[in-house]
């Protein structure tokens, strides 16, 4: 029971972190129709920028400066790269961001090399906030939860209470109309891309110390972000939230409980072969839930797309 509570909290942290990435990606996708393959790369940039800043002035200034820097980088890439590709259509756009992801990884290695960076959480958070049955829950994770929730509330406020938010909401459902409302569409696009990438950058800043700051960090997270927004439904913020939490918990629980295929097979009345060493199905018998945990989201995505191509809460199919 206590482990369940701990897992719920851990899953919440993972899910909220995922949501910080997904919200930006969904914004960008909904407004611009661009599935930004490089989104996780901006997350990585956030972590590296923050690390660099932290070596000069410590953690806290990085929390503000790094996301802003990432956002500016994102806006510049939109202005001088994506906007040019936009005219060729969506497939070249997607491929552009795909190439961008590779390029950013190389650029990061060019400057920071290939090792892990010694990027730590600030000293004030280096204690266990509380512990449940011997399981310490680090204070920094509590901080992460609060930052993520704060971001979500700010986003919610902007979307539902401000003029900009109303435009964005309109664009989420009816992308074509916004262009006809007399707004400076290129500027809006640049802004959205900048803000979206800045949010990814912020996620990187706060996740870097926990999940590690290394050149592979974007790849590890890369496609799972897509999977999440596709499951949630393209263009739906609530869908993104629900899918993020779902995947966060799914992965946490899958890693926590050693359900084995052998248990399941024997429960349905199939006998375990005595000698597995030469059995063609030996891998099936030894399969455990933690082994397949990370691929569960992909399985879920394929199922969702086959059954309900617009995703859980998606309003449109693109």
């Amino acid at each position: 029971m206590s482990l369940l509570a701990v897992n719920l909290l851990d899953g919440l942290v993972t899910g909220l972190l995922l949501f910080m990435l997904c919200s930006g990606l969904t914004l960008i996708f909904s407004m611009m129709g661009v599935l930004n393959f490089a989104h996780a790369s901006f997350y990585m940039l956030g972590a590296y920028f923050a690390y660099q800043i932290s070596t000069y002035v410590g953690f806290w200034p990085g929390l503000i400066i790094a996301p802003v820097a990432v956002g500016i980088a994102g806006a510049l890439i939109e202005r001088y790269g994506l906007r040019r590709v936009h005219q060729y259509g969506h497939v070249p756009e997607l491929i552009f961001t795909f190439g961008l992801a590779l390029l950013i990884e190389e650029v990061v290695q060019f400057f920071w090399g290939k090792s892990h960076m010694a990027y730590y959480e600030p000293e004030v958070f280096k204690f266990a906030a509380f512990s449940i049955a011997g399981n310490a829950f680090p204070a920094y994770k509590v901080f992460m939860i609060f930052v993520a929730i704060a971001i979500f509330l700010v986003l919610l406020y902007i979307l539902t209470r401000t003029r900009v938010g109303l435009i964005i909401q309109a664009a989420l459902s009816y992308p074509a109309t916004v262009q006809n409302l007399g707004h400076n569409v290129p500027l809006v696009f640049m802004g959205v891309f900048g803000v979206g990438t800045a949010m990814a950058g912020l996620a990187g800043v706060i996740a870097g110390p926990v999940l590690g700051t290394f050149p592979g960090m974007a790849v590890v997270l890369g496609s799972i972000v897509f999977v999440t927004i596709v499951i949630g439904g393209l263009g739906s913020l609530w869908g993104a939230l629900i899918a993020s939490l779902l995947i966060g918990w799914m992965q946490t629980f899958a890693a926590s409980y050693n359900v084995t295929m052998a248990d399941i097979l024997m429960a349905v009345g199939i006998d375990k072969p005595v000698d597995l060493s030469d059995n063609a199905l030996r891998d099936l018998w030894t399969l455990t839930l933690p082994q397949i945990g990370p691929i569960l989201p992909y399985l879920l995505m394929v199922l969702v797309l086959v059954i309900r191509p617009r995703g859980l809460l998606g309003k449109r199919e693109t």
């Binding site: 482990l3 701990v6 897992n7 851990d10 942290v13 993972t14 290695q109 090399g113 290939k114 090792s115 892990h116 960076m117 010694a118 266990a128 512990s131 049955a133 011997g134 399981n135 310490a136 680090p138 926990v210 999940l211 590690g212 290394f214 050149p215 592979g216 960090m217 790849v219 590890v220 997270l221 799972i224 992965q251 946490t252 629980f253 890693a255 926590s256 050693n258 455990t288 933690p290 082994q291 397949i292 945990g293 990370p294 691929i295």
Partner: protein
Amino acid sequence: MRKLTGLLLGVAIAGLTATASFAADTIKFAFIDPLSGPFAATGQQGLSQYKFAADELVNKKGGVLGKEFEIVAFDNKISPKESLIQLQVAIDQGIRFIVQGNSSGVANALTDAIKKHNKRNPDARVLFLNYSAVDPALTNDKCNFWHFRFDANADIKMDALTDIIAANDDIKKVYLIGQDYSFGKAVAAAAVKMLGEKRPDIEIVGNELHPIGRVKDFTPYARKIMSSGADAMITGNWGADMVGLGKSVIAAGYDNPIYTYYAAADGITKTFGADGKGKVKLVGEGQLNPPPNDRADAYAKAFKAKYPDTDIGQPRIANVMEMLAKAIDQAGSDTDMVAIGKALEGMEHDSLWGTKVFMRPDDHQVIQNVHILAHTDDGVSHDFDNSGYGLVVESTVEMASADAPTTCKMDRPE
């Protein structure tokens, strides 16, 4: 357009072969390891160590047969396919010694390809000097005459590690966790078997595999380890999986030893820093701290002076260079691979690191002292990652697994 294609190809392959044409008066070693991509840091470190060892231990002493050693780097991007292409390029350049270490998958592909190559091209045979790939199969079922392993394999390391654990009565519960692939499985299987033989009373409270390179957050695993009440954990994890696992376990409040294979250097030592002190242990060969002798101390200092951002993460590389120099000298040829191979078989060598090194002829597995090393900042004269932290020898198993059986049936050329 086809013409253009031909032209491009011509230019490129002319380039490929051009490098082979000059400087034929050195003995070349093809270093085939990742120099780009996620594992490049390890590859770069190995390359620096090889270059340094070749210069310091061989070339400064006048080389062998009047020739100097030269390390030629090939980037295999840790891909088996690329490794095979680079192997072919290296052979074309007339290189007869292949060194590789990162990833047993690549080592398996290479040993297989080299075996076939030597069979099909008896006049251009090559030797495979494996300095780091520790899959036991390479010197058991998959052994061949051309492959020599200079690192202790996974079973030997586990043998040494379980000797130490068996002697520690405080350890009653052990948790095994590893990456879901052959090496991770080999570590787990060896641990279960050897602990069962040496300390049947020890309870294995967890034995699990996680997907390799795909786990973003190890917290759930850390929770399981905590709730199992383990007194010690053993993991074969490396790279980001090692860092992630270690950080999560420590953050979750774990305070017992973590026995590892690869939790040092490449930024890992720095990342663990003070948190890992007294917890992170590593099983491996090569003694840096305390320095076993003045020669080793001087060697390590000179290395650091030349490569301040790199560490001697694989001390055995010095053995590879020294033993090859000896073997080539004994064979009196740098092209007769059979003679060099036979000279290497059964060679006994006094290592720079204060241990005797014996190349077992039955399976071409090196036998040497294996240590349990502790991650600490006390008594560290040669740290890693310039962090002040390093590995200090805690206990030693002399000539570990010297009489361990092998399933190797060596097919020797005449």
